[in-house]
């Protein structure tokens, strides 16, 4: 069988990955999954506030990515594009969701969520877990559009410019949403 030659840029790994996917290289999507799965899952988890639902959302997001990856044109970073797909999908699904989100902080362990920081001693881990649950609970009370901005900034570490690209808004709006989200979070944390 004749080998298919994939025209790679060599200088843009994102576009090369997409090009390999376009030419049917299944390894390309596997690489993309490995690279972005933690990011997509955590984003879904923080937006949905529910581990089981976050798992479903992550599956759907990767399905969408698989379907539309060929359309990625390299005008933004692949990471930004993946975040945009994930945010849009979560937003659409969560707005349709009838039942209230089951907060993650109530039963992380029962739901089998594995928190990754294994280096701490049991006592400080227990304290950290308590604090994490409290923060996660408070985050779930922040308005969705502010929560999205805060999660992208403080949990995912995106710059204002990247957040503006992901959310499709101006930088001024990003700045305002992050400030409002943090302020809402502060109010909720102080109340609890």
């Amino acid at each position: 069988m004749e080998a298919i030659s994939v025209p790679l840029t060599g200088s843009n790994p994102d576009l090369d990955l997409v090009e390999r996917h376009r030419y049917g290289d299944e390894e390309a999507f596997a690489e993309l999954y490995e690279r972005f799965a933690p990011m997509v899952y955590n984003l879904a988890l923080r937006l949905a506030g529910d581990a089981t639902y976050a798992e479903d959302l992550s599956q759907e997001v990767f399905l969408r990515i698989h379907r539309h990856l060929s359309r990625f044109n390299g005008r933004s970073a692949l990471k930004t594009w993946v975040y945009r797909v994930a945010i849009n999908h979560c937003r659409s699904r969560l707005s349709r969701r009838k039942r209230a989100a089951q907060p993650l902080w109530e039963d992380d362990e029962e739901r089998g969520v594995q928190l990754t920081d294994e280096r701490r001693d049991p006592e400080s881990r227990a304290l950290a877990t308590d604090s994490s649950r409290q923060v996660a609970a408070a985050l779930a009370e922040v308005k969705p559009k502010f929560r999205e901005a805060v999660v992208l900034r403080d949990l995912e570490g995106l710059s204002y410019d990247e957040i503006a690209q992901v959310l499709g808004v101006r930088i001024g709006t990003v700045r305002s949403r992050i400030a409002r989200g943090r302020d809402q979070l502060r109010t909720v944390l102080e109340r609890s």
Binding site: Y41, N42, L63, Q114, T129, D154, R182, R186, T187, E190
Partner: protein
């Protein structure tokens, strides 16, 4: 600015200040604004308090532990992709975009009833339209009157000047209302003879055995047929 005030309760000026504090923490504040803010922070204790509480919030978020994706997520994604590649019907795509759930027997029954109701309604409309058609079909005027029992497309195309329909026992010009004021003319009368003589195209009316109604010079005229010889 009080530390307890929420964003929604603040003045526009204070909101801008909170936005600046937030951007300052992120290092996203332009240099000029940053200098101005630092000058103010040096003298405004409440603002320093606000900055400290916001830093604390940001710190608590940044220390939120990240969860590892479930171990089986990758396999589940791969399985969904394989299924998706097999899935080609439009219904599947719609179902995925807006899940309809499992169809219940009640919903299926309602669907059948609805389809039946639409079918019966369409049938009644078609029947009603058929009954409107004259038993003898349409009479046209072209160069001379043509009785067209078997109307076809060609006749439809060439015949345009006048169109009569058999409605309620009389040939009527299509579109002529029954309530239109009507002048009745007997074919035997001198007026009818004059009229027919002035409009040669009307001559075939003389051969009609049924009443004919037409609009002629803005007047609706009913021609009564001449009695059989």
């Amino acid at each position: 600015m009080s530390q307890d005030t929420t964003f929604d309760d603040m003045s526009t000026l204070d909101r801008k200040m909170v936005e600046r504090l937030s951007a300052y923490i992120d290092g996203e504040l332009p240099q000029a604004e940053q200098d101005e803010l630092e000058n103010r922070l040096a003298t405004d204790e409440a603002l320093r308090g606000r900055l400290a509480s916001m830093r604390k919030v940001v710190g608590s978020l940044q220390h939120l532990e990240r969860a590892a994706p479930p171990p089986l997520l990758g396999e589940q994604v791969a399985r969904h992709i394989r299924l998706d590649e097999r899935r080609t019907t439009l219904f599947d795509r719609i179902q995925e975009a807006a899940p309809l759930g499992q169809p219940s027997p009640l919903m299926a029954l309602l669907g059948v009833v609805l389809a039946l109701a639409i079918f019966i309604y369409m049938l009644s409309v078609v029947n009603a339209r058929r009954q409107e058609q004259p038993t003898l079909p349409i009479v046209f005027e072209h160069e001379s009157m043509i009785v067209a029992p078997d109307l076809d497309a060609e006749q439809e195309r060439v015949v345009e000047l006048m169109r009569l329909r058999w409605i309620d026992g009389a040939w009527r010009e299509a579109g002529l209302g029954l309530a239109d004021p009507t002048t009745v003319l007997s074919m035997r009368s001198p007026e009818a003879a004059d009229l027919v003589a002035s409009v040669p195209d009307l001559e075939p009316l003389l051969t009609f055995e049924q009443p004919v109604m037409i609009r002629l010079r803005s007047q609706v005229v009913r021609f009564e047929p001449a009695p059989p010889p």
